[in-house]
Symmetry: C2
């Protein structure tokens, strides 16, 4: 049922039947290291290029998800997947042998909740029974593509974020097994004119604030309804801006708010500057940590709000601003 | 209603309420030049870079679509859009001021039918009343990104295709106004090992054949049901392979089959080699030509099958094959 311009409430909530997370060594060394399902110590994951490694990371994550849930690919109706690499090649090469109808999606680091949103629509509409939503990122592919050659060892500024080597994947279904997706609030592209590609938290914060605000207005809920509001990868800089932007609207989320990018690393000890980023940041944190805490009953209601910075190296070099988007998913155990 | 693994039949068919197409000068000089709604003679479209020009092309197309249909952006529930540029920046910059909930999609040149598929799901499921599906491509951005600098003037091989400068956009709705989307058949990624990025028709033909075959098997229809089966941008090389692949399965589509890439240029006179390609090829041909011919009654049933080659310049340089996908949409007037 549509509650407003951006929010849909599902009559029968959608089951997040299973979740699986994989990360690299640095992420495993962080404060949530023990929660991730699989750790790849080798950043090349046995491949000869980083791009092939990222694709393998995503592929292995989805295969492990299927094994964990004892589900065959022939029982999956659709895969929604995307990533940060040019033309989303991590996804295409990862899933090409699975023989499952596929929708490629791109929302930068909001891709994971975009997939959960679209997958939930298809299940709620009766078009699918089981859907996989997955994404990945890799520090080395992202640095190479968006910033400088790894070997160059360029200095990082305090607002810059560290792309997570990680992947997360879920199976959504019509089962009566929580946690459940109850609402989705779809983001609009926001652009307040930030042009600093080393400060993506600042670029994405307005999108997060806008989507959270729409979610509250359209559902009638407020910040107290949720045990936790958790954004994707605003990092320590962007999450403060998000808090400030919402305060201006009369909403104080600071008591029950965190950000996956702010959480995944020990920022100082691990030289992660403003925190983690990348499609794999919120996906691995959700599948590794939050999903387990929902199952254990530690959290009952979470508003999960991955955010995406929709820039490219070309748009940044041409002096363009950084449009951003955030898609919120309300999850209940 | 799900008819099989890949095909959904809509109980109430989805209206393609309006369509709009824009192209560049070369496309306007081709055999269907008179059908396109708008022609931009200036390949920079008043901007200072090709990337900004492509984004403007998409933006102008969507604005013109809204004006043609006398619809306000506030009446649009969702936009599904994507393009070929790294991180889909044509889309993000084109639609950032429209203030409409947005889902970014990537299916290379199959993006247009991916959007129509997802938009139809949302309308049929009752989650939306009006959805925009749009895409674009531009010869200069594609050459620069995927091949060689334009200024280099590199020779083109006979199997290579010419990226269309064009954009197409439709409004899908729950109105009782044809033409209608009656079925969608969602593609799986196919990869028969073609590695020649100058022969994308050959790489994509197996995906087209696989999706068409699934459509026939799952709907019980055959090639005679359709006035025309039209693929996206296999070009003259790929469409012959598609015919041959389907012949091996006992299906002869050669009597009522064509391909937008094969149609859009006078291939010899316009030096377009194997024909047109790019997200804007099938989108501009559908919105410019086929939509009008459906309205006029010249066609009653079309199976529209855009195809996408899911490669990147990096994957090609690393010697990878070219995974491909094709999403079919059955359209009835």
């Amino acid at each position: 049922m549509k509650l407003g311009r951006q929010t849909v409430e599902f009559e029968k909530p959608i089951s997040i039947e299973c979740a699986y997370s994989s990360v690299g060594k640095k992420e495993a060394d962080g404060p949530f290291g023990n929660y991730f399902d699989k750790v790849f110590d080798d950043e090349l994951i046995g491949k000869d290029t980083w791009e092939k490694a990222e694709s393998e990371l995503l592929k292995e994550t989805i295969i492990s998800l299927m094994q964990k849930n004892k589900t065959a690919f022939s029982d999956i109706d659709y895969i929604f997947s995307g990533d940060l690499l040019n033309q989303c090649t991590s996804t295409s090469f990862a899933i090409k042998d699975f023989n499952v109808p596929h929708f490629g999606i791109f929302g930068a680091c909001s891709t994971f909740s975009e997939g959960i949103s679209l997958g939930s629509f298809l299940i709620s509409g009766g078009f699918a029974k089981k859907v996989i939503c997955a994404t990945s990122s890799h520090f080395c592919t992202a640095e190479k593509q968006f910033r400088y050659p790894i070997e160059y060892g360029s200095a990082r500024c305090p607002t810059s974020q560290w792309t997570v080597t990680g992947s997360g994947a879920v199976i959504l279904s019509d089962a009566n097994k929580g946690p459940f997706v109850t609402h989705i609030t779809t983001g609009k592209i926001m652009d307040l004119g930030v042009t600093d590609a080393n400060n993506m938290g600042a670029a994405m914060a307005p999108a997060a604030a806008d989507t959270i605000l729409a979610h509250f207005k359209e559902t009638g809920r407020d910040e107290k309804y949720y045990d936790l509001i958790v954004t994707g990868d605003l990092g320590s800089v962007g999450m403060k801006l998000n808090i400030d932007l919402l305060k201006k609207e009369g909403i104080d989320i600071s008591n029950n708010y965190n950000d996956c990018g702010n959480m995944i690393f020990n920022q100082k000890e691990q030289s992660a500057k403003a925190g983690g980023s990348g499609c794999g940041c919120c996906a691995s944190m959700f599948c590794g940590y939050f999903y387990k805490k929902l199952l254990e009953g530690e959290y009952k209601n979470i508003l999960f709000v991955p955010t995406g910075a929709l820039l490219s190296p070309i748009s940044a070099l041409q002096g363009e601003s950084i449009p951003s988007i955030a898609h919120a998913v309300a999850i209940t155990m």
